[in-house]
């Protein structure tokens, strides 16, 4: 009798399951020898999605590059909470220059490494959505267009959190921010504004673009690993809930991220040279209310059927556009 493959339910849940997997299949975070590149002791808020996302991504990139990694960081929460002088939570060579120039600084670092023949050392640039989709957008597009050998990671918490929760071009319609208050006949952020930088990145025809979420570690790590196996300009945008800015319980960060993906508000996909090659299917589809009700920034939306319908239609369009239905089972 042939060996029967035993499937454990947990290996498909995207959270647990590490202990049931072969050690080679476990996440970088589950290993004792992870680099802890973003070390403990930093000043992020409780439940900070960005701190998690950055640690996951950089540790995975460190593993993929045999610890030969340099990072350029845009101004923002990540920069501020990791490097209150004279302390630094970074265990990698790390540089902060300005709010809007991290992609260009990374280009410069990559150029210096190339000219010095240090081809094994790789470069990451990282920033929040404000530093990426707004003020750093020119430099980002330039870096993409030149196909510079940089992986840019955007930690997307959908607003300017470091300056006190203002609207960015990544803020979703309806969301309350300090500059889109829930006042007047159309409360919160305008619908039909904002930009989708992953799609814009794809329009540059760069070798790799992906979206990821802090709620699914295997997927996130696999995307970072894949990105580091490629030369040229690459872009990963990671969904990172911000309890402070979103009015969510710090204990719910992973759940909020999970629901954003499961309701279709945050489609996860990979693209190569401008073509989408895969998308992460929704496992258990939920209505957007499930996602919205955990966040005070959407409290007024839940009381406003028209707005709620608008948010639902955004999710439905995503599900169509990125083919998010059709979950086939528990691939890790």
């Amino acid at each position: 009798m042939a060996n029967q493959q035993v499937k454990f339910y947990q290996t498909g849940t995207l959270t647990v399951g590490n202990r049931l997997l072969d050690s080679k299949l476990r996440t970088v975070q589950a290993t004792m020898d992870r680099s802890n590149s973003l070390d403990s002791g930093h000043r992020a808020c409780q439940g900070c999605g960005e701190a998690l996302g950055a640690r996951y991504a950089i540790d995975a990139a460190m593993r993929a590059t045999n610890n030969q990694l340099i990072a350029a960081n845009a101004t923002g929460c990540l920069e501020v909470f990791t490097t209150p002088y004279p302390e630094s939570a970074w265990r990698i060579p790390w540089m902060h220059s300005l709010f809007g120039n991290a992609p260009a600084v990374a280009t410069g670092i990559a150029a210096a490494l190339k000219v010095k023949g240090k081809n094994d050392v790789r470069v990451i640039a990282q920033g929040g959505d404000g530093g990426t989709t707004d003020i750093g957008f020119g430099c980002l597009s330039g870096m993409f267009e030149r196909n510079d050998d940089v992986l840019y990671i955007c930690y997307d918490n959908q607003g300017y959190m470091n300056t006190g929760v203002q609207r960015s071009s990544a803020t979703p319609g309806g969301a309350r921010t300090a500059t889109t208050m829930p006042l007047g006949p159309e409360p919160g952020a305008d619908f039909d504004k904002g930009k989708n930088v992953p799609l814009i990145a794809m329009a540059h025809n760069i070798p790799y673009v992906a979206t990821a979420s802090v709620d699914r570690l295997h997927d996130l790590e696999a995307k970072v690993k894949k990105a580091m196996s490629i030369r040229g300009a690459r872009y990963i945008q990671i969904f990172v809930p911000c309890p402070l800015g979103w009015g969510s319980n710090p204990a719910n960060t992973i759940q909020v991220a999970r629901l954003a993906v499961e309701c279709g508000m945050y489609p996860l996909f990979e693209a190569e040279f401008g073509e989408i090659i895969s998308s992460t299917k929704i496992r258990r589809k939920v209505q957007v209310e499930e996602y919205l009700k955990l966040q005070r920034r959407f409290a007024h939306v839940l009381k406003n059927p028209d707005q709620l319908q608008l948010v639902q239609s955004v999710a439905d369009k995503n599900i169509q556009k990125f083919s998010l239905m059709g979950f086939q089972g528990g691939e890790v």
Partner: protein, 418 residues
């Protein structure tokens, strides 16, 4: 080797001889020929081990330079005018981080009204940004000062801006002595960074600094510029030893020793000024000049010393502190503190207005009889100014100033446009 070439080309060759490892290029008149020529040197394989990067803005140009310099590469870029303003945030950042980038500024006016011609408003806008600012009088000096600039920058780990007058120098074809590679290699050792991004020795660069240490960090920036007052002349001496030319340093003087009247200026206009001085000296008039070669750090002591026995000082500058008068003059007055002789400010050559010998001679004659206002605008068309002021008094919607004045001075034919 003696060559009959364009100033920009001479600078490109000189920068190439310094073996830059990363060059960021973004076009803006009048510096563009420099980066074009450097791009050609890289393309044809004459300049090797160098990444030449076409970036999307001046902000990116200097930001890429910040990254490459922090990763240990000798880094160069060039800009002018609006471009320098567009990269302003990165200008302060590069010096704050102590990165020894060398950047040429092909001096040009700043708009609005947009104007591509020469004055020095652009460099002056960044005078307090923490960069060393060296001004070239001639294209030969521009070549020589660029070679010195890399050494000064790397000795002090701070960025250096080499300022040369747009068009007047950048686009002038003249004879220049371009050094050979062996000489430059002897003068300029390979770049050894004080700080470098290196996985073998991970460090955080550009961390946030609060009130507990910010003053000290800024003080060190100032202190290093004070050190530069010694380093710049030392390196000029070393340069002279190898290349045999007296270029660089803090200031230079022209027939200044017994002068009753001293003209203080910077940049290429000293060429015209020295011709006028020669003519006046021939008539027995005791006039001379001082050229500021290093504007940052500002050589207070040297200028104080050279001005202390004169009867009057005329600062001739191609820039304007709107609402105050002279920028250079304000600095010179600080050097001249404790002295009773007057310091006159003359603003000239704005937006490329020709500075003629006749106008200068008339100006200097007036100065010698102390018949100058505290601030004079050379060759100002007062009637045009009056006409516009009158218009503004008469009509609340008097129109755009620049367009009105273009009509008034007759550049636009009123008959055809009305």
């Amino acid at each position: 080797m003696l060559k009959q070439i364009e100033g920009s080309h001479g600078v490109a060759e000189a920068v190439g001889l310094c073996r830059p490892e990363v060059i960021c290029a973004y076009p803006i008149t009048p510096q563009t020929h420099i980066v074009e020529d450097l791009g050609a040197l890289v393309k044809k394989g004459q300049l090797t081990d160098c990444e030449f990067i076409n970036v999307e803005s001046e902000f990116a140009a200097l930001s890429v330079g910040i990254g490459s310099s922090a990763a240990g590469a000798r880094t160069y870029t060039a800009t002018a005018s609006q471009g320098l303003l567009y990269m302003a945030e990165a200008v302060y950042n590069a010096s704050g981080l102590g990165l020894p980038i060398v950047m040429t500024v092909g001096n040009r006016a700043i708009g609005s009204p947009i104007n591509i011609w020469n004055d020095q408003s652009d460099s002056m806008s960044m005078r307090d940004a923490g960069w060393i600012q060296l001004f070239a009088e001639t294209n030969q000096q521009a070549i020589d000062v660029h070679i010195q600039a890399f050494k000064i920058a790397e000795t002090l780990s701070m960025p250096v801006m080499v300022c040369m007058d747009g068009f007047i120098l950048t686009h002038a074809y003249e004879r220049m002595d371009v050094p050979d590679q062996e000489q430059v290699d002897r003068f300029l050792p390979p770049f050894e960074p004080r700080q470098v991004l290196d996985p073998a020795d991970p460090k955080s660069i550009g961390a946030m600094v609060g009130p507990e240490a910010f003053t000290e960090v800024r003080y060190i920036a100032h202190h290093k510029q004070m050190q530069a007052l010694k380093v710049i002349p030392q390196i000029a001496e070393e340069f002279k030893g190898i290349f045999g030319r007296d270029s660089g340093g803090l200031i230079s003087t022209y027939r200044a020793d017994d002068a009753d009247t001293l003209i203080v200026t910077l940049g290429s206009v000293i060429g015209t000024i020295s011709e006028v001085i020669d003519e006046m000296r021939d008539k027995g008039q005791k006039i001379g000049a001082v050229t500021i070669r290093s504007f940052r750090p500002f050589p207070l002591d040297e200028i104080h010393e050279v001005l202390k026995n004169t009867r009057r000082v005329v600062v001739f500058e191609k820039c304007l502190a709107v609402g105050l008068g002279g920028i250079v003059a304000s600095n010179v007055r600080m050097a001249h503190r404790g002295q009773t002789s007057p310091v006159y400010t003359v603003i000239g050559g704005l937006g490329g207005r020709p500075i003629t010998r006749a106008s200068l001679q008339e100006l200097f004659e007036k100065a010698m009889t102390d018949d100058l206002e505290e601030t004079t605008f050379l060759d100002l068309k007062q009637d045009v100014v009056d006409q516009e002021m009158e218009r503004e008094k008469k009509f609340s919607r008097s129109g755009a100033i620049a367009e009105n004045i273009l009509r008034d001075v007759g550049v636009v034919d009123v008959a055809k446009t009305t």
